[in-house]
Symmetry: D2
Subunit: 295 residues, 4 copies
């Protein structure tokens, strides 16, 4: 089928390739004319036959909102917008409401898979009305991994549910990565196990901890067995924070995921003000030696 | 090759089946005569040709120690003992030393895979001398998953390293399970996602969080979509505790794995004495309403 | 000086008593006519001489907002509103802006001390302009503990800073209570210390952990040495959640305070969905025994 | 009464001063002849009248054990040893057993108060037989803060209970310090509160979080308002680790205290191997930018 695709960064251009390989007609737009198939959003809308289906794949927040506002002006009733970026689920409700005023349909899609999705297919979670999701199903089927549809795609619920599911997915991802990372650090520190990369590789099959993330850790250790070429500096990209905020809103204890987020925060600090305060307290009550900031 | 196998519980008997299917001659012993191939440990030793290879698969602690002491009396120099139970790595060193006095060799093996290992093969981590491990390699090859040896087997280091690797593996397992569990609870509590089992199943392929544990969670939710047939009561079996103790010994922060262990502790409490103390404090300073133990 | 005081619940009526005892003229208003000095908010405003000073002490959120809107209509330019409830600091900015349109001044005040403040004085943290805070200083001086002003009162910063300081104060309070509670539970569980209440009482003087909260724990244990008359069920009242949300917004790791909040969440659950998921996983991979919900 | 005091470091010499000021006769021994009252342990024993009371105040572990062995050889039946160092409670049992063979009595004493104890008195927790503790009571009364005995001294239980109580005390102390430190960091990071030292000082009286540790934080901030002269590098001294190990042994969840310990571990790392692993994983799956170790 025909699809307009807005945003041709790494994710978007990979998705365009995968969709075209599946036989779909993709008209892509990006601000960067070197990768864009059309000259403008208006141009993109004109090249699509009504009722149109348009997938948005731009950074969440202001960029996504701006695209949606422009689409709200140029699309027509019964056109369908698929919002595939990493938006917060709360944005979806206002987005859908804005478009609904003009009769435009809206589905939010959580997309997982990173750069590997181009080859393996993407895990997809969609939120919206059933008829809208059915309309886009050929697109979802081309993007998801081949095989059983329900192993790579879900209609998670009403508008917002797709991004909500993706948010929780990423929260879990934080926790999983932290668990592997703690185990790696313990193996490396204790030195009882003398071949850490081989040991972790031996977990690839048959074990309880086997996973795709483990396979990636094996790859990373094959390239750099002690990870000495990297700094332990880790960014976070929104979904982890939102997961904790949602867990607080719903009174759900999420200590493992939260500890993963806090470890990332700490990884980006030159020095810890909290630990300065602890050092100061110990110095006050016990005359414990402290390190001055010159040391 | 020929192997003596001591301990024919669920794990041991599955392993006997898998080894025999691979063409090995297994003489099994268990205290339960209904499953045992021989009448006693002495009988088992006599039926094996020297130099013997004997695999121990009995509960860790006293039972394993007792078997080792009996074997120390009945085995001969150059016989090889493979300790495959969930022993603490510190036990391996004393075990090996005791047997070494009689010239008996010792290798510890961490075994992962649970009841599924019978079919899929087990992930194996071995600790000991290279020549001893080489001698047992046909056994390891039969037990591990087919395919590349290094994806299901590692010589992790000297004696103790096999069980150390298994301990850390299980610590990671605690953290992974906790991360999935927190995500499941948040999805269920927030009710934005209306089809939780389908959403989690959609993570099976293509996503960053796909794993064997996720596949098991999908299975569990297919059988009981809201997990209403289970209580949230979770035991722990040693390796998680040892992982935290080792992380403390090595000054390694392991907050995610630790939070998983603490969540299990809390799951087994009828009521929390700590939370009683917090309730008592709030009652003292603020006149906050508390619930009496009658409510 | 003259003060209008809106909200005569436990905190408000205690404060009225303390202010009157210090010689101030307090006109109190409450929806409950039995405790109110006046019949309406309008009546209260009329009984005060301009420029008026009015202290609001009603529940945060909608009740506070409603009072502010009524005061916005009936107060005059140069009147001063002191918002002493447990409002979120973000509310203060919109409150102040709304009143500023009419020339009415606004100061937010965090108040700590609970029911003991009536006797001991309250710790106060104020946010707003210096001249406004100066105007209200006689009130602050009467409410705070006697002695050095700076040990019970601070001008924390601009509008919002008072409630922000109180929010962080309460976050710390969560962490402190959790630390004492964990220590209490360990003492009680381990049974090495045979007289737990006496041991905790011995920390009252001379030790590093002595504090007012410890004194309250001693009192609670004197009344109920094993805290057997209470359930371990603990509510939370907003500030703890906001503290974590702010720590996330500012990328500040706050694991101790967060663990205290999560322990409260868990204390209110009949059963833990997350632990059900862990039990289900263990059941899937290991045939570990689980407890059904009937047990 | 007469007391032999072994170990005249900062704590020991302060205690000698405090005991002498209370009228007791103290014969002190230290390896450093400049502070010692006698030339040897043997000399110390000879100068004391039987039945003797000897207080040991040397570093825990090997130094304490060595002193105990020497005392075991030179003391007589019915002499009493008070072990006041930071020993692990498990050591007390073997210490007491060793001395009991010679009829020598043993009491372990946890001592809190740091350098301030010299002036304020020390909080004391004792473990042992009632008659032994009664014999030493004049010493305890001189060391503890003046006033009610039960606010600065407890007979916590049998041998080991004194050090157990001190261990838990220190575990709580870790949690309290972490809670204040997190709150300090959040106040400093968010910049809503513009006068952080004044705000924290305002918590000194009347508030729920007032405590001796808070007073010390106020002092530290008066000396260095942004704590810029310190590094956030914090040692740990045994009791915190033992507290977590005991909480694991007793299946007691202690997340706040544990998070405090882990924060100290992290404070001493140049870089975090775990965070390197997370960065490596993100790099593998998402092409997320990482920082090389050169940056």
């Amino acid at each position: 089928m025909q699809l307009g695709l807005i945003g041709l960064g790494r994710m978007g251009s990979n998705m365009r390739d995968r969709l075209r390989a599946a036989g779909h007609e993709v008209v892509g737009y990006d601000r960067n004319p070197q990768v864009s198939d059309v000259t403008s959003l208006t141009d993109l809308v004109q090249q699509l036959q009504a009722p149109r289906v348009v997938w948005i794949m731009v950074p969440h927040g202001a960029p996504t909102r701006q695209v949606l506002e422009e689409l709200g002006d140029s699309l027509e009733a019964d056109d369908l917008v698929l919002e595939g970026g990493n938006s917060r689920f709360t944005d979806d409700r206002s987005n859908a409401a804005m478009l609904a005023e003009r009769g435009i349909k809206y589905v939010d899609v959580g997309v997982s898979g990173g750069v590997w999705g181009a080859e393996n297919g993407y895990g997809l979670m969609a939120g919206g009305d059933t008829e809208d999701i059915e309309r886009a199903m050929p697109i979802f089927d081309a993007l998801r991994p081949p095989g059983d549809r329900d192993k790579g795609f879900a209609h998670a619920g009403p508008v917002g549910a797709g991004h909500y599911a993706k948010m929780v997915h990423n929260g879990i991802e934080y926790g999983l990565m932290q668990a592997y990372a703690e185990g790696f650090e313990l193996l490396a520190a204790s030195e009882v196990v003398t071949d850490v990369p081989a040991t972790i590789k031996a977990w690839s099959q048959g074990t309880v901890v086997r996973s795709w993330l483990l396979d990636l850790l094996v790859r990373a250790l094959e390239e750099d067995p002690e990870l000495e070429r990297l700094r332990g500096y880790v960014s976070d990209s929104g979904e982890g924070r939102w997961t904790i905020e949602e867990s607080i809103n719903n009174a759900v204890p999420t200590p493992a995921i939260t500890s993963a987020l806090f470890a990332r925060f700490a990884s980006r600090q030159e020095d810890s003000p909290a630990m300065k305060a602890v050092a100061a307290l110990r110095n006050q009550f016990g005359g414990h030696s402290v390190q001055s900031s010159d040391e």
